[in-house]
């Protein structure tokens, strides 16, 4: 390999037996399998089904390069990092690595909850591959970085989760390898701390460290990495400048089902009073690009009223990925004549947070009795936007992400000084 290439992968592949990762075997299974094999000697025995988590991945990294790896869940990102970190072995191909590798696949690996912060710094440092002398030398730096001075001799089980993560990241951030492999560790701590972590990674690359970085966070990939690899179903889908790859990746986002139509009518949810016909989410502005947190949306509920004289209301519930109800809204449509109707709910821009928003609808009678109810009828992917973020790269905290008005003025009556805007 040429002098400044530090990682050279050719044809890397990893095959897993299906189920192998999920369950260990018991002796009984093995004996049972061996017995059946004996009884069926002569018959061709079937190989257990396998799946290639990674297939024919080849790329090179030069010294000082910062490479981002993106892709959906199960695309093989973590498998690749595990192979390069020597945790698991490739099934095919090979990789050459020149230099010390420090990998950070999880924050706080090996922390023991009964031990104090001080003790865990030493333990975790040793696990990550630091020498004792090196930990001693950088001890004060680590403590200062984690901002936990007064809790140094408290068992970490008494730490808040924020403190725990800060300490864990602080140790890792002071690991000083030539090649740094990082998996999704930015979602740590508060904004200020996160900025420090990103700064640390930036610093590493400026000091000639080679950084391999996996993230779901496109903002971070775009701003930290010069180039990126897009993995899809275990293979490299595309590689190139980070900005291009991230944009192509985002555009490719297979949209979840943004509309659902029931046809023919009589299989549609509902009863002899009212039936749903179609539910759809669309953008409510003229744009054609990605739906972001800024995009206004419209949810259309098409339904047929089959019986007159009912006091109807259409209800809508929006849930996020964690299943938290973001909001619910309803409209009283009153006593409609039999016929086909469409009620549209407008969701303004700058309200939803990024993520997949799924929408359930129901139609109720007399404010109480649900005639139709469809859980997760449609869903829409809302992408992030840099608007109003400052230097925050991670998922914006909170269920919603409104842009609110702030005012700042000198407080003449207060005793404390307040800076004017």
């Amino acid at each position: 390999m040429s002098s400044n290439v530090v990682i050279d992968c050719s044809g890397l592949g990893k095959r897993y037996r299906i189920g192998e990762r999920e369950r260990y075997r018991t002796l009984r299974d093995t004996i049972a399998r061996a017995t059946t094999r004996l009884l069926r000697r002569g018959e061709p025995h079937s190989e257990p089904p396998t799946v290639w988590a990674l297939k024919d991945v080849s790329f090179q990294m030069r010294q000082g390069e910062v490479l981002g790896i993106i892709g959906r869940n199960g695309a093989g990102k973590s498998t690749l990092l595990k192979i390069l970190s020597r945790i698991t072995r490739p099934t095919s191909g090979r990789a050459l690595i020149r230099g010390r590798v420090g990998s950070l696949l999880e924050v706080g690996t090996g922390f023991h909850s009964e031990l104090t912060g001080r003790e865990n710094i030493f333990l975790n440092g040793a696990i990550l591959g630091m020498r004792r002398s090196e930990i001693v030398r950088r001890f004060d730096e680590i403590v200062a970085f984690a901002e936990i001075d007064e809790f140094l001799d408290t068992p970490v089980k008494r730490y808040s989760s924020g403190m725990y993560m800060r300490l864990a990241f602080a140790v890792a951030a002071h690991l000083d390898p030539e090649i740094l492999i990082v998996d999704e560790v930015l979602a740590v701590g508060d904004a200020v701390f996160q900025k420090k972590c990103l700064g640390k990674m930036d610093e590493a690359s400026q000091h000639g460290r080679t950084v391999l970085f996996v993230s779901h966070n496109m903002m971070a990939v775009e701003s930290l990495c010069k180039s990126a690899i897009w993995l899809d179903h275990g293979s490299i889908h595309e590689a190139g400048p980070a900005r291009d790859i991230v944009h192509k990746y985002l555009r490719s986002a297979q949209s979840p089902q943004v509309q659902k139509t029931w046809d023919p009518d009589d299989t549609a949810p509902g009863d002899m009073n009212v039936r749903l016909r179609r539910v759809a989410v669309r953008r409510a502005d003229e744009g054609t690009d990605l739906i972001t947190v800024r995009t206004p949306l419209a949810v259309e509920v098409h339904y047929a009223v089959l019986r007159p004289g009912q006091d109807l209301a259409v209800n809508l519930f929006a849930y996020n990925e964690e299943g938290v109800l973001i909001f619910s809204s309803d409209v009283r449509v009153g006593r409609l004549h039999p016929g086909k109707y469409c009620s549209t709910c407008h969701i303004p821009g700058d309200l939803l947070n990024a993520g997949t928003v799924s929408i359930s609808v129901s139609i109720t009678r007399d404010d109480a009795f649900a005639l139709v109810e469809v859980q997760e009828a449609v869903a829409v992917d809302v992408e992030d936007s840099t608007h109003g973020r400052g230097t925050w790269y991670d998922r914006w905290p909170g269920v919603v992400r409104p842009i609110l008005n702030w005012e700042t003025e000198a407080d003449r009556h207060g005793t404390s000084a307040v800076a004017a805007r």
């Binding site: 390999m1 897993y16 192998e20 990762r21 260990y24 075997r25 018991t26 002796l27 009984r28 093995t30 595990k82 192979i83 390069l84 970190s85 020597r86 945790i87 698991t88 072995r89 490739p90 099934t91 095919s92 191909g93 090979r94 990789a95 050459l96 690595i97 020149r98 230099g99 010390r100 590798v101 420090g102 990998s103 696949l105 999880e106 690996t109 090996g110 023991h112 009964e114 031990l115 003790e119 030493f122 333990l123 040793a126 696990i127 990550l128 591959g129 630091m130 020498r131 004792r132 002398s133 090196e134 690991l175 000083d176 390898p177 030539e178």
Partner: protein, 280 residues
């Protein structure tokens, strides 16, 4: 920077490929010796945290067992104890046995218990069972002081032969490590091991001269008996402490048996360790 263990030799090229390395990897284990030290230290630190009796357990366990055996086997069942009072004979057998049993059980469970580490960080896997063996030593040292006190109480002489005792302690640790390598690697594949360990150590205890002297075993069986490495360990340790000629033949057979188990364990563990992260 050259201080990190990823290699003082910065230009070292690591090759990752499907093939197994041909060596036992001792060089690498040596480079990670500080991690071994830290893992032992962690296990010792954590062992008696949040226990009311703390380190007293290390005294209580062997002495309570000694009392029970002395009463029921020594006094009521009249098990012979040539050359020493029964309680001292039993304690001198129990201490290395408990060291072995503890080290064996902990190391056999160690790899599975370190799942998080093994799936997230690279280091020579053999360090995990080795650390579990090392962490069993402090309890033994405490028990050893109790033994010295007991010998004093029964007016037994301290001879120069005591200096040989650490050799047998070392042999017990090697035997535990050898069996621990086998069982910890098997445990990753087959969780049956977890259930077998308690049963195994219990049965093993009775084929080892702890509560009875070796003299109860018929002559023609004794060499076969010594294939159990703990026979050489217990007899050797006991004679070093309590006096009497060292049973060389037992010791030779037991040392050979220990090394067979250990070499097999090293080989098997090395062959299996690259699958740990995928299977565990």
């Amino acid at each position: 920077m050259s201080e990190t263990i990823f290699g003082a030799e910065a230009a070292e090229v690591i090759e990752l490929s499907p093939l197994a390395p041909g060596t036992l990897g001792f060089g690498e284990i040596w480079r990670y010796r500080e991690l071994l030290f830290f893992l032992i230290w962690r296990d010792i630190r954590v062992k008696y945290k949040q226990t009311a009796l703390g380190v007293l357990w290390a005294i209580l366990q062997p002495t309570a067992l000694m009392a029970v055996f002395s009463l029921f086997l020594g006094r009521y069942a009249h098990v012979p104890s040539p050359g020493a009072p029964y309680p001292v004979m039993v304690l001198a057998g129990l201490l290395p046995w408990q060291l072995f049993a503890q080290a064996l059980a902990d190391s056999s469970n160690s790899v599975v218990a370190s799942e998080r580490l093994i799936t997230k960080v690279y280091f020579p896997r053999m360090i995990v069972p080795a650390a579990a063996v090392g962490a069993a030593v402090p309890d033994f040292c405490i028990g050893f002081v109790v033994l010295l006190v007991m010998m004093r109480y029964f007016g037994m002489p301290f001879t120069i032969q005591i200096l040989a005792a650490p050799l047998f302690v070392g042999l017990a640790l090697l035997a535990a490590f050898g069996v621990g390598l086998w069982l910890s690697a098997l445990n990753v594949q087959y969780r049956d091991v977890r259930h077998a360990i308690g049963f195994l150590t219990q049965a093993w205890m009775f084929v080892t001269p702890i509560v009875y002297p070796v003299s109860v075993i018929p002559h023609q069986w004794r060499h076969f008996y010594a294939l159990n490495p703990m026979v050489g360990v217990i007899e050797g340790f006991r004679r070093s402490m309590l006096g009497g000629p060292l049973p060389e033949k037992f010791i030779i057979v037991s040392v050979l048996a220990t090394f067979m188990i250990l070499l097999g364990g090293l080989y098997y563990f090395r062959r299996m360790e690259h699958t740990f992260a995928d299977v565990i």
